[in-house]
Symmetry: C2
Subunit: 313 residues, 2 copies
Amino acid sequence: MGILVVGSVALDSVKTPAGAKTDVLGGSAMYFSVAASYFTDVSMVAVVGKDFPQEHIAFLQRKGIDASGLECRQGSTFRWKGEYGSDLNACTTLDTQLNVFADFSPKLLDTHRTLEYLFLGNIDPSLQRSVLEQMKRPKLVACDTMNYWISTARESLLQTLAKIDLLIINDGEARQLSGESNLVRAARIIRGMGPKALVIKRGEHGALLFNANSVFSAAAYPLEEVADPTGAGDSFAGGLMGYLAATDSADDAALRKAVVFGSVMASFNVMDFGPRKLGDLTFPEIEARFREFHKLSFFEDITVASAKSENIL
Amino acid sequence: MGILVVGSVALDSVKTPAGAKTDVLGGSAMYFSVAASYFTDVSMVAVVGKDFPQEHIAFLQRKGIDASGLECRQGSTFRWKGEYGSDLNACTTLDTQLNVFADFSPKLLDTHRTLEYLFLGNIDPSLQRSVLEQMKRPKLVACDTMNYWISTARESLLQTLAKIDLLIINDGEARQLSGESNLVRAARIIRGMGPKALVIKRGEHGALLFNANSVFSAAAYPLEEVADPTGAGDSFAGGLMGYLAATDSADDAALRKAVVFGSVMASFNVMDFGPRKLGDLTFPEIEARFREFHKLSFFEDITVASAKSENIL
């Protein structure tokens, strides 16, 4: 099944303890699409300016991403500048130039209206709904948002949340949206707003999936080096939706595996700046890391006897 | 196999968003012993003052804990006063009165010297070594410490670490001890100091186990209400050591299950003040929560087909 993603494509300037890069390819729709492209067909709807380098278009095409919905308008591409300190969970935005993204009003091509999996990246909730209204009848709609929309467009966001299946946000956003610091209670409140399932991303602490009758806690991959966390959340969403669309499933077992594939893609993404590592993977590498995640959190259930091996004594 | 634990027994006054309690039974050796008592025989070595209520001794005896090593000296019992805000991971110590604990110099009874599992609670590293020297030949020695000893008695602590099998500390202590913020690198440095295995506790984010060739990430139980986090780390250590001693095993599979039993006991402990909940469990309840932990982090490996059920669509 194909996925449609609507969001940003940007040129990011990022400084982290591992280095600094200027005008690298960024944006939520880009990170999502590259991650999802390993699983299924992806079409992106986004906007860039006339200054957008042709090499980036070529990169997206090499990844098999349908960029026919990537509008190129008069003006400059969305630019974001940020800096991460030694606590890579916290980022300081130094500059945001929306440029052509300020007037982004997604118009879907006919070929996009019939896609069955839809990811609404972090844009104005009213634009998210305008995309939904242009779709024929998507099978699964997932959505992201951010602190800015939660505080400035809450009513509009609630209207969007009433129409989606799956919300993918971070722990800070979940607390802000619900007004509740305990994540179990926050999840219940948020699921009451509409989404049947909720994924709460917790950076280096992994992710939680709240579903009708179950909670799933996914570990984060214990990396020794993180070059650049930018795009981790969108890579996560891309891996997650990519797996669901590829298998055309959304039961509890599939959602759990999808959250792990999301964690896999995020763990690759943070290993280099921009989509350098994320864009340079093979599916066997992705499967191998999935198996490492399985090993990372595996323990025998209580009824199974321990096999004696590798005694630390 | 029996366990010997050396640490504190205290009277705690604790304030949390859930309420406030004065002079409740506390201390590292107490929380550890109560948690471990569900798994195996536990003997504690600690000191209290003449003011220590007889009802607390009776409680320990009801839990089947050998308190023959609980010395009662002239003076007052160790008292600690602390307050937790809405972020239950952070605690402010309001008052510490060491009292008889200031001169604590553990003298082991002959019956204790031959025990095979030893837990050195958070006391002066030189006292930890004096306990080790009094033991005949323990099979597994685990140890805790804290920021105070890492900064004021580092050389002594390093001498202790060289002699132990398993170190159980929190993430802040791991970073401070190693001088390294990345926990994977921190774990390698700390294991280089002596401990064959390292468990890093991360509060509401679970725990990590670093072993010779493997890393295990255990989830924390998603609780809706936390009454009082005091003693969570010691309950964790008690459940962990209790399982290892009961099964007389320390291979990777056993250590992983032990970390989960530790998480189980900590999750019960924080549900009420002092050892009220922790001391009032049945083993079937403990097993049931272990199974909930298994379900919480379970996902199918990549080779297993998904069973279709509970589709969110």
